[in-house]
Symmetry: C2
Subunit: 453 residues, 2 copies
């Protein structure tokens, strides 16, 4: 064919393809109301996300079942008046400590605010008080929950096809989600009763090298991880920092549950001497979920000066512009009224989570202690317990549990992206009363026992 | 070389590359505190974003200059007590109209909420009242400002390398930002005094087809666009809808300034009969910037049932989980206390913006009316006026204006991603008093006149 002929055929092909696409887009009335999910971003059809959606639908279907599934904070101390009290406390702080006149106070809450947030200094005080972390306020980016912080860090680090993220398996679904949104492959690192395994991390780094991949970071939850409930001991924390430093990778430390333990080990960030750790902070469990305020501490220096936090902030400006200063003010007020200590602010909640954990472990022992093949871990804090059973735990079993036994849990495979964990389930203890724990575990035992070999 | 030899050389190469990367990562003390922006996501070094950052720094440097640069809403009617009033109004609504008991009201504001938001029904009432848009509440996704809605729509639509977005040139920088975060190429469509040109849109669609690209959507601001201030007339709106429908592309309608005009033309969404329009809603100018609440109306049916809104919501769950219900409550309270009419709620502000626009146009006429080569458009609403001059308007000129004349504006090239608009500047009128307008335009004239040929 000559060139003009070739072009003609090519145009015809393009026109045909376009026509097919338009037909797919339109419905039989010629209305272009149909979109096909197959033509949308791959994250929407990823098994990890669709399975999570199915799970939520299933849980919604059985609202009267005892829910040992939801990882939400305890609600009995919620009081609507506290929102007003916290807002007032922050405004008073601006007037008294920051010497703002009324117009500036009002503008701070009403108007667009600075992208990095308006309460970084108060968050830094909280980190010093509760976590022994020395964070310069300019290294703090206030975000719409820790979830936005995760997205920003992954979006910043994923520059090209070579870039991968390491994370323990099983892992928090929010991390999986942020990775999907940024097209970041997540390579699993083995996780055991002591949390992420630094030796396997070394192996995975080597494997990535051999495959020409660039590992940008490793996500880790050293304290009472979601979903397993496990924590890392102190030597493992030091070893993990050593591995990160000597391999030039960042550690993304998620510490949403660190406060809720009987004994507290130092966070990675408080031990970090080499700028290896980006700290992902959440106020959802310790402040107020409805404020949707979290943050990142990113004090890494950029080669051209400035901080990694400023790079995150640049992307935040394109994503959410800034975190609502009203929402920030609510969290700030809570910090101000509790001498910057969320440990102090949550004294009652911590006691309840500790009690619920103990009651759950006791009830498991009474209900399932004699059953061969059934075991569970014994976290010393946090919201979660992992139960292992000698049969398959899938969403079908969950539906049976809900329908026939009136109890809900989370099949662990959801935290493996559907690629493992089929003999485990996650129990959440944060929202329950002693009576509900007793009854919930009894119902769970009634589900499990007939299925034992 | 035999195979094992080859593998050895390959490993050596990988080890060397890794070593170089680690050295780049570490500073001379062996501390891994240096990150290089060249190794991060490309958006961070995109000229559009770095120029916007430079612009903001420049503006911050001259806080006493008269700012005709900031697109922020008028502040004089802000009152901190309104936050409490609005929160109370929403809680009363939940008790009275939704029959919630106190525990459920409290949980609605304090706890994690549904991803799509808790005030979709009230937003639907507002859209019916102010925009004559008939939106089913389930088609509304409440977002962290319209910015998050833009990101979610682009992230959903950008499935692969072929997918491109069309947008008028010049365009809102937030759109450019959301496109950068999703690696979406933005193809410019010609824009004139009547807004985006539907004929050029047809040409661009043809061009995209020929290049094997898939145009997913066209972004458009039919009312008082940022940055130009221009609006589309009614025939162009109908023509644009026809083009979108017959080509099976979505229109992303941004209507942040629609309320602020002397005459109101129907929004694209209110004219949409084919499900071609995704409406991007902002409460930043009409509600309260500090709430950071916006929304998308995405009532397109998916081929497998469900709504496009549900796809956006899935991604939102991985990005920000949900929009703060406290922030949503503030906006809801304002809607409830104003019979769902933001036109009514903003009566005083609308009068001020209209006055400021008239005063600005009058002052331009007086100060620059006789100058050859100097012209400006005459928007009938919104926040912005475009001034055209016969010399180059770059950031250097802005700095001169700030330093020597004490006046700030926005060089238009920032809205072309630095690829055009070098003879125009954007004036913003929203934050000014009559005195500041008079003086600001006089200072602008003093900058411009000596530079005329």
């Amino acid at each position: 064919m000559d060139n003009s002929r070739k072009r003609g055929v090519h145009r015809l092909f393009l026109t045909l393809r376009r026509t097919v696409e338009i037909l797919v887009f339109m419905d039989s009335n010629g209305l272009s109301t149909h979109l096909n999910v197959e033509t949308l971003h791959g994250s929407l059809t990823d098994p990890a996300i669709s399975s999570m959606n199915l799970l939520n639908e299933l849980i919604d279907e059985y609202p009267v079942a005892i829910s040992m599934a939801a990882g939400r904070p305890y609600e009995e101390f919620f009081d609507i008046r506290l929102i007003h009290t916290y807002l007032d406390a922050y405004c008073d702080h601006l007037r008294r400590d920051r010497k703002m006149d009324e117009a500036v106070v009002t503008r701070t809450l009403f108007q667009y605010g600075t992208t990095k947030g308006v309460i970084a200094d108060l968050i830094a005080k909280n980190l010093a008080e509760d976590e022994n972390i020395d964070a310069a306020p300019e290294s703090v980016v206030v975000t719409v929950g820790a979830q936005e912080a995760m997205f920003l860090v992954l979006r910043t680090l994923r520059a090209g096809e070579r870039d991968v993220l390491l994370a323990p398996a099983p892992t928090y679904v929010g991390l999986t989600g942020a990775a999907l949104l940024t097209d970041t492959p997540v390579w699993p690192v083995r996780s055991n009763e002591n949390g992420i395994d630094p030796d396997d991390l070394v192996l995975q780094l080597k494997r990535a090298d051999e495959q020409g991949k660039r590992v940008r970071a490793c996500y880790v939850t050293p304290n009472f991880a979601n979903p397993t409930g496990t924590s890392m001991d102190l030597p493992s924390r030091h070893r993990l920092l050593d591995v990160a430093e000597s391999n030039g990778i960042l550690l993304l430390e998620d510490n949403a549950y660190g406060l809720f333990g009987s004994e507290r080990l130092p966070s990675l960030k408080s031990l970090d001497r080499s700028g290896s750790v980006v700290y992902l902070g959440s106020f959802a469990k310790t402040g107020m979920p409805g404020a949707r305020v979290g943050f990142a501490v990113a004090d890494q220096r950029m080669a051209d000066g400035g901080l990694f936090a400023d790079q995150l902030s640049k992307l935040k400006g394109m994503l959410t512009v800034n975190t609502s200063p009203i929402a920030q003010a609510v969290i700030a007020g809570k910090l101000l009224l509790n001498d910057f200590s969320l440990t102090k602010a949550n004294a009652r909640e911590i006691a309840i989570y500790q009690r619920n954990l103990r009651l759950t472990l006791d009830a498991l022992e009474r209900g399932l202690g004699s059953c061969e093949g059934v075991s569970w871990n014994t976290p010393t804090g946090g919201f979660f317990v992992t139960v292992t059973v000698p049969f398959v735990v899938d969403d079908e079993l969950l539906e049976t549990a809900a329908r026939e036994h009136g109890v809900l849990f989370t099949p662990m495979h959801h935290f493996y992206g559907g690629k493992g964990g089929f003999h485990q389930l996650r129990l959440s203890i944060s929202l329950l009363t002693p009576e509900l724990i007793e009854e919930g575990v009894a119902r769970l035992a009634a589900l499990i026992k007939p299925r034992l070999p």
